[in-house]
């Protein structure tokens, strides 16, 4: 696979013409953001891999439907988010049948000393994110885990930018409630 840096638009044009290597480069560029988003929505980094793989396969097959003016990152994250939600709902139905409930169990790797978030706080924060509703996790996931801007998040979720702002604010508020006094989060 040729990994020479090429911009998204050019890769997209080539991928739309059926160039699979170009699509492979798109996957390589966006896979980390996609995996983080799928992990936050699904709550499982192992399952996130399957979700993102399936999402990218679906995205490739849907390339002819993407508008020429559409940015690839929000479009891909929309596919990933939808796939994560659908997969989670399938798992949820199984959960209800088996009456098995468990908490979010993502893996948080140790960070360097200079990182502000301690390991303990990272795990507390992850648990709090996991306790949010799917809608809150999706908006938090797009903004802070996939690194989308408000405009890009609006495109990914097909809502107005103002809605992204208000939903993000409310989700952060609920996250603060979840965290309570377990860690310092006030600015």
């Amino acid at each position: 696979m040729d990994l020479t840096p090429v911009d998204d638009a050019e890769l997209l044009r080539r991928a739309c013409r059926g160039d699979r290597d170009a699509f492979g480069q798109i996957v390589a560029i966006h896979q980390i953001a996609a995996l983080r988003l799928a992990t936050i929505i699904s709550g499982d980094s192992t399952e996130a891999y399957d979700i993102v793989q399936e999402a990218f396969v679906r995205a490739f097959r849907a390339l002819p439907t993407i508008r020429s003016s559409e940015a690839i990152a929000p479009w891909l994250m929309r596919v990933v988010a939808n796939e994560a939600k659908n997969t989670r709902r399938g798992a949820w139905r199984r959960d209800r049948r088996h009456q098995r409930h468990a908490a979010l169990r993502p893996i948080v790797v140790a960070g360097p000393d200079e990182v502000a978030l301690s390991d303990i706080d990272a795990r507390a924060l992850m648990r709090a994110v996991g306790a949010l509703s799917e809608r809150d996790r999706t908006i938090i996931g797009c903004r802070f885990f996939a690194g989308l801007s408000e405009t890009e998040t609006a495109a990914a979720l097909d809502v107005a930018p103002g809605t992204v702002k208000s939903r993000t604010s409310r989700a952060l508020g609920r996250l603060r409630v979840q965290l309570g006094d377990t860690m310092e989060v006030t600015s």
């Binding site: 996957v27 709550g43 679906r58 390339l63 399938g90 199984r94 169990r105 978030l117």
Partner: protein
């Protein structure tokens, strides 16, 4: 300006172990060689998407997630974070319900204040369920697990309408601080704003963020107020502007969000019992 929590979320993202992403591109390309179906022309996209959505939902459980995999994460945990209220008093211009002593979360039989029900509760006009829905444009909530309601009210006096359904005390529903009332179940338009509760809960009230399972099987965000809270705040337009509203019974309250509608269940029930009621709440059939 980016606040501390936002920076911490970004830190957390960078530290999240997302597995062996390096193999992903190869795995995806291998899947593309498995005989992918031809993409439908754009004009057929809607039909294709509808069919694909159904197929993907059906296949997700059986093909994507191996049965032998470790248990996947689930998000049904009820939050248990206790928020210490700040000593801030909030007053509202609307008269709250009967005054009552603080109801600690462990209390299930609060002292009853004699009240002239329903006038002192400011419930609006008593109407049938159909008319309440028509007048307000709101869903009329029904809790089938409780005794039949003793009244359905439409409150259209203020800027924002409410539907309020009154349930009597029963074997499963303790008497509230107001005589003859076991619970008030209401709907209004807006969004619960959790930030408000961090600063303005009444003294003696505990606040928890909870996940509320709805009758439709969705897991939605909610707030549990344990104790004698008198007011809460909602974001009417979803754009950050807060307005306060009264809690008529001044007792334990569960708030949850379905779409742009806030559901509110005020009773002397404890949190888990209130959550058990919430999961039964449906919308009264119209017509």
């Amino acid at each position: 300006m980016t606040d501390v929590l936002e920076r911490q979320l970004s830190d957390l993202a960078a530290r999240l172990d997302v597995g062996a992403g390096s193999a992903l591109a190869a795995d995806v390309l291998a899947r593309l060689d498995d005989g992918a179906p031809v993409v439908a022309p754009r004009r057929r996209q809607r039909l294709w998407l509808a069919a694909a959505a159904a197929v993907v939902l059906a296949l997700a459980a059986t093909l994507i997630v191996p049965q032998s995999r470790d248990a996947v994460a689930r998000f049904l945990r009820i939050g248990s974070t206790r928020i210490e209220p700040l000593p801030v008093t909030v007053t509202t211009t609307t008269a709250p319900s009967a005054t009552s002593p603080s109801v600690p979360p462990s209390t299930t039989t609060p002292a009853v204040t004699e009240a002239t029900f329903p006038s002192e509760l400011h419930l609006g006009t008593e109407v049938g369920a159909n008319e309440a829905g028509q007048r307000t444009g709101l869903p009329v909530p029904v809790a089938p697990g409780l005794e039949p309601s003793t009244g359905v009210f439409a409150d259209t006096a203020g800027e924002f309408a409410q539907v309020i359904v009154v349930y009597p005390p029963s074997d499963v529903l303790p008497v509230s601080p107001v005589a003859g009332v076991g619970a008030l179940l209401s709907t209004t338009r807006g969004f619960v704003d959790a930030t408000f509760f961090l600063k303005f809960v009444d003294p003696g009230t505990t606040v928890e963020a909870v996940d509320v399972r709805t009758a439709a099987g969705d897991d939605v965000s909610g707030i549990w107020l344990g104790g004698a809270s008198h007011v809460y705040a909602i974001d009417r337009e979803g754009e950050g502007g807060l307005t306060t509203d009264e809690l008529r019974l001044a007792t334990n309250t569960l708030l949850w969000q379905v779409g742009a509608t806030v559901y509110r269940f005020e009773s002397a029930l404890e949190r888990d019992a209130a959550l058990a009621v919430a999961v039964t709440v449906t919308e009264a059939p119209s017509g």
